[in-house]
Symmetry: C2
Subunit: 275 residues, 2 copies
């Protein structure tokens, strides 16, 4: 247990981040551990994947994965931070995601906050649909309309520094829910101070609220999924996960960390994703 | 035939519109008639639905529907304009849509340009997916990636007056494709002259290009759809059409035109939509 704590705490150090960015990440991870802890097995990520770096140490990464116990609807919780030194400056990517088993159709949770420069951030915050909403309007009603999460998206959208962000991946655009928050936050005038403020007063609270709604869904009754439907959910989930790896990691990880480290990390993620 | 022409021309009068808005609509309808004319039956819309108005004549509407011949993959082409006098000013809604049969999985075509005020427009221009793209990445590749329509969306997005528009209907947001153009065009500084220019130089040409790509798909080989898949396509198409009627027409038509006129028009649309 002591080892477990020390391993988990490496993730929670979050060096390089703005204070409010770090607080948001720590808050989200703590919320999951407190509320869903009894659903989760200890992290099984090997130490050399829990923390890794490139040869020069300029790029660093962490990975935290906790799988759900047999009786839980939770498949796995995944969190990470990446610090990448690039010719144009440093990139800091932080991420926490919750994936569910095909025994439930509750959406997956996804939070990703990327610092591209001291005054330019990209935020992706969403409950990712497990079904084709066009064909299942009842799914939209249960998880998106009745939960009133559109109001949270609109709250953030009102800030003049916040603009819709279009992913270069057309596939990814289809994965996002209709209330998904995919925005850039650019504070050319207010500088880093204003970014700090936006994350502390808006991004943090809204992320917490959406995660709270999601955890209610996870622990709640949920909809029982039949055999045929389960196969479709599994196929869809696998496609989403494979595409996420392909888009985010397959090409960039070897470039940033070298092939050996990249292979080691990707093997652990793919194993958790069962892809 | 003479009667057919005179009936069609009522639609093409497009009163109340800016010159470039009218030209864009006439151009799109002519393109469909020239290229797909041999696929289409004459309009079967009764005269009192082809043109209708409210008691005072302040709100007016037209409807044009041509169904595909038996051997065509085209189900129907629908075009209309609506002029609605409201306490806050006039609204002019113009629309042209192409729906396909379930024998093909080619996307539907949709163009809608709404003048909310002399300097404020909303544009919806899209090839609407017939399948859940998350589950069918090959569908995305064939109809959206290989056709390079994202470049057209980006071309319009570069104009400072053009902003992403979020529909209040969460369902509708899911219907839109990943390259769908759903934007507001606001020209507070340049006035009506600048709107004229944006429609003439950007909206018109881009709409024409996207319609051209769509007509190539319709007439092209297309993908043959099997029996099981056809049932899913039909269910999905019916839901999209029903929701469109529910969202756009069911509540607003009776308010604008009175129940009797609204019932008459909706009956014709529902019959064409088979909903």
């Amino acid at each position: 247990m002591e080892q477990q704590q020390s391993r988990g705490s490496k993730l929670k150090e979050f060096p390089y981040l703005l204070e409010s960015h770090k607080d948001t990440m720590v808050g989200l991870i703590s919320a999951v551990e407190n509320r869903l802890g009894s659903h989760l097995l200890p992290s099984s990520v090997p130490p050399d994947v829990e923390y890794y770096q490139n040869d020069s140490g300029s790029s660093q990464g962490t990975l935290y994965i906790r799988c759900g116990i047999h009786s839980s609807p939770i498949d796995c919780i995944l969190a990470s931070w990446l610090h990448l030194e690039q010719p144009t400056g440093a990139f800091d990517i932080t991420n926490i995601a919750g994936y569910l088993k095909s025994s439930t159709d509750v959406p997956h949770f996804q939070f990703e906050l990327v610092q591209c420069s001291p005054t330019y951030f990209i935020l992706f915050l969403d409950l990712i649909p497990r079904k084709d909403i066009v064909l299942h309007p009842d799914y939209l009603k249960t998880y998106y309309e009745d939960t009133k999460i559109e109001a949270l998206r609109q709250r953030l959208d009102q800030l003049s520094e916040v603009k819709p962000y279009f992913s270069s991946s057309l596939y990814f655009r289809c994965v996002v829910s209709p209330t998904g928050i995919l925005v850039s936050i650019k504070c050319e005038d207010g500088g880093t101070e204003r970014v700090e403020e936006i994350i502390r007063e808006h991004v943090g609270p809204i992320s917490n609220e959406i995660m709270g709604i999601w955890m209610d869904m996870c622990i709640g009754k949920g909809v029982e999924v039949g055999e045929t439907e389960r196969a479709v959910l599994e196929k869809r989930d696998t496609l989403i996960k494979s595409k996420a790896i392909e888009m985010d990691l397959s090409s960039s990880m070897p470039k940033q960390f070298g092939q050996e480290v990249a292979d080691r990390v990707l093997r652990v993620i793919k194993s958790a994703f069962k892809t």
